[in-house]
Amino acid sequence: MSHLLEVKDLEVKFALRFGDLTAINGVSLTLDKGERLGIVGESGAGKSVTGFAIINLLSKPGYISAGRVLLEGQELNRLPEEDMRKIRGNRISMIFQDPMMTLNPVLTIKTQMIETILAHANVSKTEATDIALDKLKKVHIPSSEKRIHQYPHECSGGMRQRIVVAIALLTNPALIIADEPTTALDVTIQAEIMDLLQELCASEKMGLILITHDLGVVSQVTERIAVMYAGKIAEIGPTQVVIHDPQHPYTQGLIKALPGSLQPGSRLNQIPGMMPTLTDIPPGCAFHPRCTISDTICRMEVPALISRHDHDHMIACHVVK
């Protein structure tokens, strides 16, 4: 069966004056129709870069140096720019982190919505407005007929993120990439937006890639998780398995660092050390300097991502097999 999205050995580099910097180093993942995948990791692990690489919208000087991105069998990273434009915002939509910054301050919500439809479908402005209103209702915007004529600054943060979600839905995409969609929002609104996303993905049969550092959010919303570390996938598998039975020492560290299971007042667990900067990735397993169980081989060889007994659960570690 063919997947909705297939990323194969993706490699992203940033061309700098001193030579290329590898931000993503051989990431492979798949997503089926209607499936929800979470990508987690610390800042700088390459989560967002992966998202932008999928829609081929890396900001300069970033570029895809190797690997393939296939959407419904079509190879995206080799498409001419105009064909890629027709896919962006149409088959794949993106939701950004900060709704305060995502919407253009000088254009009305209506303008920003219908332009998306008009860029991809041959419909009249009236029809486009009807679609926009329909989507605003889907994301539970009250009195949407009035709201649609307003400017972004007239709406609250949660409202704006819902509008951004509505914009992402306009063309009934097959895949939504949400890059930290709730990080900039407060907790109650976070839950509201996540519920909304989950509900819409289920009802519209949309695939979702949720990029976040919030394990709590990921465990509630997604079916599978990919844990990224220094531009590589450390562990990938069904959400419940990875959360409750993490194998990779990095994933274990991340989950132990959650305050949930601790006595109030006790010190939080943390993973010793810092994530390496891209210029200075240690040889072998990038995680070995911070790892509690590392072996000699970890310093020499890069571990491959290998399936455990359960075929769907893969980890990249020499010690845990």
Binding site: I55, L57, S59, R85, K86, I87, R88, G89, N90, S93, M94, F96, Q97, D98, M101, T102, L103, N104, P105, V106, L107, T108, E115, T116, A119, H120, Y151, H153, E154, V164, I167
Partner: protein, 324 residues
Amino acid sequence: MFAFIVRRIIQAIIVMLVIGLVGFIIQHQIGDPVRDLVGERVTPAEREVIRDQLGLNDPFYIQYVRFVKNAVKGDLGLSFFYKKPALEVILAKAPATIELVLVTALILIVVSIPSGIYAAIYPKSWFSRIIMAVSTIGVAMPVFLTAIVLIYFFGVELNWLPSYGRGETVNLWGWESGFFTLDGLKHLILPSVSLSSIMLPLFIRLVRAEMMEVLETEYIKFAWAKGLHRQRVWYIHAFKNTLLPVITVFGVQLGILVAFTILTETVFQWQGMGFMFLEAVERSDTTLLVAYLIVVGVIFVVVNTIVDIIYGFVNPMVRIAGTK
């Protein structure tokens, strides 16, 4: 919007009162109206009588109030040289300056916006590099030098364009205009190009810098992610946001441009307010100088108020603040 405009007008009045005060102090300290009125043979005692009659021995604030009252009525005093009301002298010269500034502003807009945008979108193209290099030279070059170089090439060597005066003008309801004759338009070219050369580099760089900054924002990334055509992203999403700071700076610089006309008009023998100002300085025509100061102040304030109102139309956030 109404409240916004009212507030701007009140601010404008306060600014005008301050300008009036400065003008009045200058006149009070430097000028001697008695000298303007009487000849050498009038004795000091007689002068003192005249001073009393004119109210020049009254306290400072009473004289200032009288000055403001007269100014509101349009009476800015008599020009010592022309023996005519100063305002009348200036208004006769104003059309020349205003037309020069208008054409200059037009050149600024038409040249700086497209080239600034181009340089922002394609920062590495050879055209952008040339624009940036030339604009660096332009910043460093004083206006009279630009003017003389232009006169030398286009006026003297090539003999394509006239290099002084306004040429043939048409009188429209008291407004001497050079816009309606070919000769008048030809005469406008060199002065307005010289005058625009002062601000052009600044504006190209401003538009470019603002546009580049806007192109890096999240909402532009989002616009790309929506799959919009590049023209729409550049000219609607990015350009509208680029305009906001550009409009503000443009308003301020337009006022400064009026001041810069003094140099340009002198080089080109352009019979405008700036030319008149230098003559007035040479003749110590204090009344006329102060009147010039006030008229330019009015132009400055009016232009800025108009620019602010335009800004309010472009920026939805100002509109909201104004309606509250």
